[in-house]
Subunit: 236 residues, 2 copies
DNA sequence: GTGAAAGTGATCGTATACGATTTCGTACTT
DNA sequence: AAGTACGAAATCGTATACGATCACTTTCAC
């Protein structure tokens, strides 16, 4: 009755669903890079499906912002438009902050210990300079924090945000060693807040600031034009 | 380049889009009431389209939570599941709060005057007891507040939330005179905050509380089982 | 040589047809 | 009389085929 919207969107075994998962995976793991042109016919032939299910899959991916679509032209994997990056990060900071605050009271000590272990691993990655692994662990860490969110709608929005960022390769592209150190420390501070049962507002604010700081770090090292695009949202 | 996701989802003149708009309108204005069974073939016949565009339209509506879908069974207009109502209200309180805070600095005095006029009209509706008009004006009021939000993603989420509530007929169903008076006062307080250039955090919190209060009023007059469903999210 | 215009190719959009799965009614058995 | 099993109807899921629209290339006139 209360599954997430995403889970309901197509029957599990249907070709539409298979096509959706397949194309999505290819985008997220980078087989289809930004700018790659997704032709319905070609995709259908590659996957062994017909055009209709593929078309539906593309539409769903479009709704999630992973591809853009143009009539009689075709679909292309969404590019790294700096403005889009900002919008996504800002939206994610809001929904993820809320999700983390809502999750906090439901996280048990075991999960916290797990998150802490992940965070320590991230610290090691910094010493050996392993950005790829760092990024993966970062996602694991945050998953522990927000996965207990009792509101499936909010959880779904968080997942969509992460997927978009994954598709944009933003976390690895924008890996800044100095920022990464701060990030690990902020993680630990967040865990402390949750452990001590801080009020939801504080947790939400901390989680939101954590992501805003990443955005700021990005803006600081970005080109002037990108910074300019970001200044529209400077009030946040 | 930066239209909302919804606008991009289908070509303007396509039958898919027409079907989507048509069915959506019928749901929101109440021609198709909750529980109404949407059979692909029948809808297609009614609209004069084929099955494929209708199917795509239904899928989009499902992604927005307006209908539920089951394989080989069909689609039904989403019902007034109290849990879903809570989830929707909670999500909306978060994204609408953020949208209002982001809009605030961009709202000029003309727009504020317009909002205030709408709010005074709402006050009159209370005296003449006109819940339907009150509900419509309420939407107008909030539109003025958040429509200036520079982040299209957030704006899109707000619209989706409002659509769901409209489809559920929740605002009219749950109209509580006592609460409505408070609501009008809170609107005025919100306008004052925006006029005086209060910091975004205060505005966000005020906007969020405004919606939470509506939710609380709903819970107070709801049946015990509904209240019980709500207690899961009591931390908010 | 440059510009526009027409033709060609490619891609999406939709309709129709068929197959798979589920549901519901009915008859039969216990 | 109640439960079960079988069958028919209905519905969704997918494939294939055709039409509409747009982008690109080529050609012709100036």
């Amino acid at each position: 009755m209360t599954e997430t919207v995403a889970e309901l969107t197509a029957a599990p075994g249907s070709k539409s669903e298979q096509a959706y998962q397949a194309v999505k995976a290819r985008i997220i793991e980078g087989t289809y890079t930004p700018g790659y042109r997704l032709v319905l016919g070609s995709i259908a032939k590659d996957l062994g499906f017909s055009v209709v299910p593929v078309r539906e899959a593309i539409r769903r991916l479009e709704a999630e912002g992973l591809v853009t679509f143009e009539r009689n032209v075709g679909a292309t994997v969404a590019g790294i438009d700096p403005t889009e990056y900002l919008y996504t990060m800002q939206t994610l900071s809001i929904v993820e902050g809320a999700a983390t605050a809502l999750s906090a009271p439901l996280i048990d000590s075991v999960a916290i210990a797990r998150a802490r272990a992940v965070n320590e691993e991230m610290r090691e990655c910094l010493e050996h300079f392993d950005p790829v692994r760092f990024t993966r662990l970062n996602q694991d860490f945050h998953s522990v924090l927000f996965e207990h969110c009792p509101n499936p709608h909010i959880l779904d929005l968080v997942h969509r945000g992460w997927n978009r960022l994954a598709a944009l390769r933003s976390s690895t592209f924008r890996f800044v060693p100095g920022r990464a150190h701060d990030s690990v420390d902020e993680h630990e501070a967040l865990l402390k807040l949750i452990e001590t049962g801080a009020d939801p507002d504080s947790i939400e604010k901390a989680a939101r600031l954590h992501r805003s700081a990443t955005l700021d770090a990005y803006l600081a090292q970005a080109s002037p034009s990108e910074r300019n695009a970001g200044s529209v949202n400077a009030q946040y």
